[in-house]
Symmetry: C2
Subunit: 246 residues, 2 copies
């Protein structure tokens, strides 16, 4: 048994790599307001796109495309869509909550030097895809994994990212000339930032608090409390995220 477990260490990463992953992950923020007009070099953008491209995908179908927008003309058209959608969305909230909503800056489309629309081509590798028969949405989820890889790589490069979901997808497809069979997954604003916030903006502004992890974990069956050892493990690691953000 010993030799088998030794083999396991062959591809283990260093503690410094683990720290780098966690420091990036816990300091990642959804950026709306802090973009700087500083040019993002194309080699940096390329690295971030390579990170996205190395996400997992169902049946290794790699269903993603990245439409990179740098010109104000195209950004302006998307920003108009955002303004209209944002007005519609604000009306879903009432009284103080609507006032609070309207005071939030929810997109940095014009401020961010780079916008990227991440899409999913559902027929990338034919109609039958390994792993997609029982969960047809797996290709959409694969594309989301690419978004999260991109986001983390951007953070590691010192770039902020904001995911703008206050857009009508059909209108966005018309603006970018995206064919009907392609699904828009994410519209991302990317750029260097003045600073990264210590906490998520919606938490620090009192919109929504961070939930406690121990309320979100079940053991063996839904609704069943955690086993004692896992509960102890979670309690013991409660300061773990703060260790990297403090």
């Amino acid at each position: 048994m010993q030799s088998k477990y030794q083999a396991q260490t062959r591809h283990n990463l260093k503690d410094s790599d683990r720290d780098g992953l966690y420091r990036t992950l816990f300091n990642r923020r959804d950026v709306r307001s802090e973009f700087l007009p500083k040019t993002v070099p194309d080699d940096v953008l390329a690295r971030v796109l390579y990170a996205a491209h190395h996400a997992p995908s169902v049946g290794f179908m790699q269903p993603w495309n990245f439409t990179v927008i740098k010109t104000d003309a195209v950004k302006q058209r998307v920003h108009s869509l955002f303004k209209q959608a944002n007005d519609e969305a604000a009306q879903q909230f009432v009284d103080e909550r609507q006032d609070a909503y309207r005071q939030l800056k929810l997109a940095g489309i014009m401020d961010a030097p780079i916008n990227v629309c991440v899409t999913c081509d559902r027929e990338r590798s034919g109609k039958v895809v390994l792993g997609r028969t029982h969960m047809p949405e797996m290709d959409l989820y694969s594309t989301v994994c690419a978004v999260q890889n991109l986001w983390l790589a951007a953070r590691a490069e010192g770039l902020g990212v904001g995911w703008v979901s206050i857009l009508d997808p059909q209108a966005l497809k018309r603006v970018l000339g995206i064919p009907s069979q392609i699904v828009t997954i994410a519209y991302l604003c990317i750029g260097y930032v003045d600073h990264f916030r210590d906490q998520p903006e919606l938490a620090s502004k009192g919109w929504q608090p961070r939930l406690s992890l121990d309320e979100l974990v079940h053991s063996e069956q839904w609704g069943q409390g955690m086993d004692q050892n896992l509960a102890a493990g979670i309690a013991q690691q409660i300061d773990f995220p703060a260790h990297y953000t403090g």
Copy 2:
């Protein structure tokens, strides 16, 4: 302007952190066959769950739950669902492709010490959610971001993860007692591994090759070739992923 750009460096990460993120990201694999029967300590599992819990989420709704399965009895019931679904899925492929499919080991449910079902509670923070009005699927996508965070954290901890999508979601919900309004997003097998593969298994076994990134990137409009600078940036960084896996 200079002072503004200096401020930007305030929260920049170190080069070693950036390397750690990239080394983790490019060496992450979808593990099916290489799990070892070595116990995963609960503090390690807790860190991985904290990483998942710090994913981005629409309106900061944090819609995820994690059902952690350690017992063979529950795993066995899920494994039975997998076997049935896998037989059905195999029949979608014909001739040599079906033979190739049947030779792939596609789930490590019984081999992995830990299984985790990641779910999305679509009503976590009420019916109206900031950012979800025009893209109602954003809560599902937020939960996928949590899966990708978990996956990367696991890799940094030396743990392999396999996402099993060859399962009937309704049957899985019955086995785990998951209420009807909760959506199952991912069923993950987690454990220490004998080794991590150099390349994705479906690529090295000839099922599907890795695509070239430059064919997946457009500039300004769908279908439009990349601008010269971005094309040059991508060409220049082509060996970037291999730098971390070689």
